[in-house]
Symmetry: D2
Subunit: 344 residues, 4 copies
C-alpha cells in the first residue's frame, strides 16, 4: 500500500509500506480521508518544532476516517463496511495518568505521526490502517470528510472541558485557524452566548464569522479594538488562546474579567506574559493538550447537528498530490482545512 | 389597573389594583404576557403547598414580559418601547448569601407571587408593573410570548449549571411537564449528546420528543424500560428529576452510572429513597431552586436560536378569562404551557 | 496457617487455611493486627446485610497490617522486615471506572472479605497473606496497631475529598462510631475550624470529644440541641452522615446552610428524607464509598502526626479469642475499635 | 495621634494625624501591633512598584491588631476591651464582583495603605483606627503579636483555596519569605503530606524548615536539586510561587506532574515562561490576590493550634523607631517578619 512519508523538511514522498493483518480486538480500515494538521506542516516545512525533530522517515497524519474492511476476533459492535472515525490517541492504559483518567497525559502514549519518542510513532496517512477496535467510532450519517474532522474537533472539545462552565458565558478566541474556528463551534455547542474572534488575517476571520462568531476583529488593522472590552475590570469569561503568540495572549488580558479562564491551546514555545496583571486579576491559565474520550463526543455532536464542520474544509486533494496539498495547507491566505482524498 | 388575585383555593378574581409610579432606577412596564406556573396552580387549586399557605389575597404570577412605558432616573440602557422579560427574582443584595453570589438563596428574597413570608409578596399578573431596571432584560428579536418563557427557562439553566459538565453527556429527565421539557432544551444547549425522558403521560412525552429528546419512555406502560440502561453499573451521567415523585427518582437510580449527578428540581415533600444504593454508587443528589443570573442567559439563548421554546406554548388565553386559563393549565392531558394574553 | 472464617450468623471459627507463595510482583505478609469493622460484624451477627448474604464460608477482615516475610520478583521498594499497611482495595485496572480514575467503583473489585460476588472474596484475617506489592504501604515509624487503622481512616479521607473544601469550614458529624470519630480527625486534618458531633450514646461521644470535636451533642437526651444552629438559613457547611439513620440526616437538614454538602457514609438501606427542604436549600447529598489512593495518604498523615488514631483503639484481643473480640466489638457501650492481635 | 507616613522613597515620618470618632456600626481600635509587609517596603524603598506610585503622603500598613476602645451603635458581638485582628479588606459590597462573592476583586476596594487609586487609601499604622465592626475578628486566646499575623496568613489561606485539593498532596513552595513560610503552614493545615521549599537564602530556608517543611533546597547552591523530582512526568501536585521570579517558576515546571496547579502569589511584573511545556502538561497557573472571608479562618486556625505563626516574628520594634524597623525588614538576611510595637 501507499503511505505519505516525511524524510526531512520539504522531503515528502508517497511510498510503498507494508500492510498489517488485524489481530484479536483489531480492525483493518481502508482510509478515505485525511486532514492535514499544523503539526504535520511543522514536520513538512521545518523537520519538526522545538526539541521535537525528525530522526528517521515517518508517516505523517492523524486526522483520518475510513471504511472497515476486515475484523479480528473480539470486535463486537463493528461491522465490515462501517464508516469510522479513527482516533489517533493510543494510551497504554496502565501508567499512573491512565489510572487517573488522564489518558491524554499517558506516559507511554503512541499518538500517530509523532517524532517525539524514538523510534517515531508512525502516522495514519496510509491506504490501510490496522487499529484497535476501541479507536474506531462509527460515523453513520456523516460523510467521510466530516468524520475526518473528529480529531481536531476533539482537541477543541477537550479545551472546552478544560474551560469549565460555558453556558451563558462570553468567549474570546485568539487565532482563527482551524483550531480557533472549531473552538467557536465547540464553545457554541456548550452554550456560550457571545463569541468574539481575533486574528491578523481577514480570510481567517471570515471563516470564524461564517460558523457563527458574533464579532471578528483584525488586530493587525485595529490594534485597539479589544480596548472597548477593557473598561472596568474586563469583559470576557473565557479565552481560548489558539495562536501560540505571546502578543495575542498578553493583549487579551485587559479584556478578561477577574477569575477568567484562559485555555491555552496554541503551542508557541516560551512566552513573555504580564503575570503580575494576571495574578492581580486571579486569571486562570490552563494548558489543554490533545484529548481522549472527547473523540466519541465529537462524532456525536456532528451527527446530531450541534456542530457543522463542513464550512471549514476548503480543499480536498488527491493522495498522490500530497506535496501540493501540504504546500497549499501551509498558506493561510488560501486554505483553512486541507484534506487528502485517499481515493485520489 | 386589573390584577389576577387569589383569595383562597379556587377563588381567583380579576380585580382593580393600584399602579405605582417608577422611582429612580425603576421602570414602569405594561405587561403583555404571563405564563402560568406549577406554583400558581398550587395556590389556585389547593391554597398553597406544604407549609406555604395563603393568609391574605395575593396577586399570582412571575413569568411575565411587557413593554417599557415610563422610566425613572438612572435607568440607562432601557428605552421606552422596549420589549423586556422581567425577572421575578429580587434578592436583597446585602445578606450573607447575596454576598456569596448565591442570590437565589437570599435571606430576604421578594420573589413575585410567594405566600411564604407574611405579608405575602404580591405577584406580577397585573396590567402594569413597576420594577427595578435591573430586573429587565431587553428581548429584542423575540416575541412577547417567548420573552415570558425566560423565567421557567432560567430555572432549567440554573439546574444545568448545578449539574456540572454536560458536554457529551448522557442525560435522563424524569417528568415531562414544562420544566422537564425545558430541561431537555437546556441540556441540549449545554452540549448533551443523548437525552431520554420518562413520564406517565404520552401527551407530555410527545412534547419532549418534539423539542428533540432522543427517546421517550412511558413508565406507566413500560415499567421495565429503564432496565436496559441498568446493566453493568448503569448508563446515564446526569438525571434531571422534574417530577417530585419518589418512585421516579428511586426507579432511575439503577440506570445511573457511579458518580452520576441527580439535579432535583421537582418539589414533592418527603421522599423515601434507596440511599444505600445511592451511597455505594456515590451518586450526587443536588437540589436546584430558582435562579438568578441565568435570567439574562435565558433571553440570549432564545435570541441566538440555541433554544426554541415556542413549541411548549400550547395555549394563550385572554387576561379576563384567567379562571378558564388556570383550569386548563391544571389539566396535563390538555395543556403544556398556558399563557395569559394581557391584552385579551 | 490459621484464618478466621464465618460460616453463618454467629458461627465464627478459627480454621486451618492454605498459604500461598508470592509470585512476581507479590509479597508474603505475616499479619500482626486486624481491626474489626462494622461490615465484619454484620456477617458475624446477621450473616450479611441487605441483599448481601453469606453463601459459603468466608474469611473475614480487611483492616490489617503486618511484616513482609518474602518477596517475589519485581517488588522494588519493599524489603523483608518492613512493617506495612495492606490495602484491601483490589480493582481490576481495566474497566471503565478504573480508566476514569474511579477505582473504588471498579466493576470487578475484589475487596477483602466481601460476600457480594460469588464465589465470595476471601478476607484478610489470616496469619499470612500473599498480596500485590502495590497493596503495601510502608508504615515506618508507626506501630502495627496504628498501621491497621489505615483502612478505616482511608474511608474517611475519601469522604473528606468528596466533601470538597474543608479549610475554615463548619462541620457536623452524625454518628460517633469509629467512622464518625475518624471523620472528626480527617476533617480537622483538612482544615475544618469547627466540628460538632451527634450520637445517641455518651460513651461514643466521649471519644469524639477526646480526639478534638469542639462540641458533642447527645440527641437522645437533647433532641432540640441542633435547633440553635437552625436560625436564619442554618449554620454548618458540611455534614458527614455516619449513622445510616434517616432521623439523623433528616434532623440535621435545618442546621445546614444553603448549598451545604452532606457526605453520606452510613449504609442504612432506604431512608425517608425531607427532599423538598433539601431542594429549596440546594443541599448536595453525596455518597462516599470505600477509597483508593487515599490509603497511602492515611499512612502518611499518621506518620507526620496530623492524625492520631491511637485513642480509638479501645481493645486488642488475641487471634484465638476471635469470637470474644467480635462479641465485644458488637457492643457499642463497651468498645470503639476492637483489634485482633495475630500473635495472640 | 501618631501615624507612620511615607512621603517618598526613603522619606518615612512619624507624624500627627487626626483621630475619627466611631459612627454607627463602627469601632475605635487602639492598635497594638503592626506587621511590615513587602508592599510597605516597596513604597519605602522605591516609592511604589510597577505603575503603582506614590502621589501624595500616605499612611502605610495593613497587618494590624489592637484593642477595642469605643463602639458606635449596632456593633453587637464586640465589647470594649476585646483584642481584635483588623481586616484591611474593605470591599464596597455592591459591585459586580462583590455580588459574585469575589470581594477581593471589588471594583471599589479600599484596602489600607494602597497608592493605586488617587486620593490614596490611607493605611493602618496609626495609634487609633476607626473601623467597621465587620472588619474586626475577636482574637481571644491569641497574643496581639499573633493577631497581627492574621492578614498575611489570610493571603496564604486564600491561595490554598485557589489551589484546590491539598489533602495528601505533594507541595512545592518557591520563595521562602514570610508569604512562602506561611504557605507552608497553610498547606499543612489543609492536609498536604509532603512540602518542599526552595529559595536562594539559607536563612530564609531555615525558617521554612523550622515551621515544618519536609525538605528545603537552596537553588543558588544546588541548581539541579529539583531534577530528582523531574523524572517521568514530574512529582509535585501543587506549586505555591511566592518569589515573583520567572526563573523560579520556569525552573519548577519539570518537577510538576501533568495537571498540577501553580498558585501564583509573587508579584514580579512580566515573566518569560515555558508556556509550551506548561500547555503540553496541562498545567494550571492560577493567580491569587489578597483574600476576603479567609481573614476569620486565619484567626480561628491560630486559635485552635492548627497554625503557629510565632516562629516567623523575628523582630518587634517600637513605633517611634519605624525607620529602623523598615530598614531591618528590607534585609532578608537578618529578618523574616518585623512588627511594630505601637506602645513602643
Amino acid at each position: 500500500m501507499k503511505a505519505i512519508v516525511i524524510h526531512a523538511a520539504k522531503d515528502l514522498r508517497v511510498e510503498e509500506w507494508d500492510m498489517q493483518e488485524p489481530g484479536p480486538g483489531q480492525a483493518l480500515v481502508e482510509l478515505n480521508t485525511g486532514g492535514i494538521c499544523g503539526s504535520d506542516l511543522h514536520y513538512y516545512n521545518h523537520g519538526g518544532f522545538g526539541v521535537v525533530r525528525l530522526k528517521e522517515p515517518m508517516i505523517l497524519g492523524h486526522e483520518v476516517s475510513g471504511t472497515v474492511k476486515a475484523l479480528g476476533e473480539g470486535t463486537a459492535g463493528l461491522d465490515i463496511g462501517d464508516l469510522v472515525a479513527v482516533s489517533p490517541s493510543r494510551p497504554c492504559g496502565h501508567c499512573r495518568y491512565c489510572q487517573l483518567g488522564l489518558q491524554n497525559q499517558c506516559e507511554n502514549m503512541r499518538f500517530y505521526g509523532s517524532a517525539m519518542p524514538f523510534p517515531h510513532i508512525q502516522g495514519a496517512f496510509r491506504q490501510h490502517l490496522t487499529v484497535d477496535a476501541t479507536q474506531c467510532v462509527k460515523a453513520n450519517g456523516l460523510t467521510t470528510v466530516e468524520a475526518a474532522m473528529a480529531e481536531p474537533l476533539s482537541v477543541c472539545l477537550h479545551a472546552t472541558r478544560r474551560a469549565g462552565e460555558l453556558l451563558g458565558r462570553r468567549v474570546l478566541v485568539t487565532g482563527s485557524g482551524p483550531i480557533g474556528v472549531l473552538c467557536v463551534l465547540a464553545a457554541r455547542a456548550a452554550g456560550a452566548t457571545e463569541i468574539v474572534v481575533t486574528d491578523l488575517s481577514d480570510q481567517a476571520l471570515a471563516m470564524a464569522e461564517r460558523v457563527g462568531a458574533d464579532r471578528v476583529i483584525n488586530t493587525a488593522q485595529n490594534r485597539d479594538a479589544l480596548e472597548s472590552y477593557s473598561s472596568g475590570k474586563g469583559y470576557f469569561d473565557v479565552l481560548y488562546e489558539c495562536s501560540g503568540a505571546a502578543s495575542a495572549l498578553a493583549g487579551a488580558i485587559p479584556a478578561l474579567r477577574p477569575r477568567a479562564v484562559v485555555v491555552q491551546l496554541g503551542l508557541g514555545g516560551d512566552m513573555t506574559l504580564p503575570v503580575q496583571a494576571m495574578t492581580v486579576k486571579e486569571i486562570d491559565l490552563r494548558g489543554s493538550f490533545r484529548f481522549h474520550e472527547e473523540f466519541g463526543t465529537a462524532v456525536r455532536l456532528m451527527q446530531n447537528g450541534a456542530v457543522d464542520v463542513k464550512p471549514l474544509i476548503t480543499h480536498s486533494i488527491g493522495f498522490q498530490e500530497a506535496k501540493e496539498a501540504f504546500d497549499l495547507a501551509s498558506d493561510r491566505s488560501r486554505a483553512m482545512k486541507v484534506q487528502l482524498n485517499f481515493a485520489g
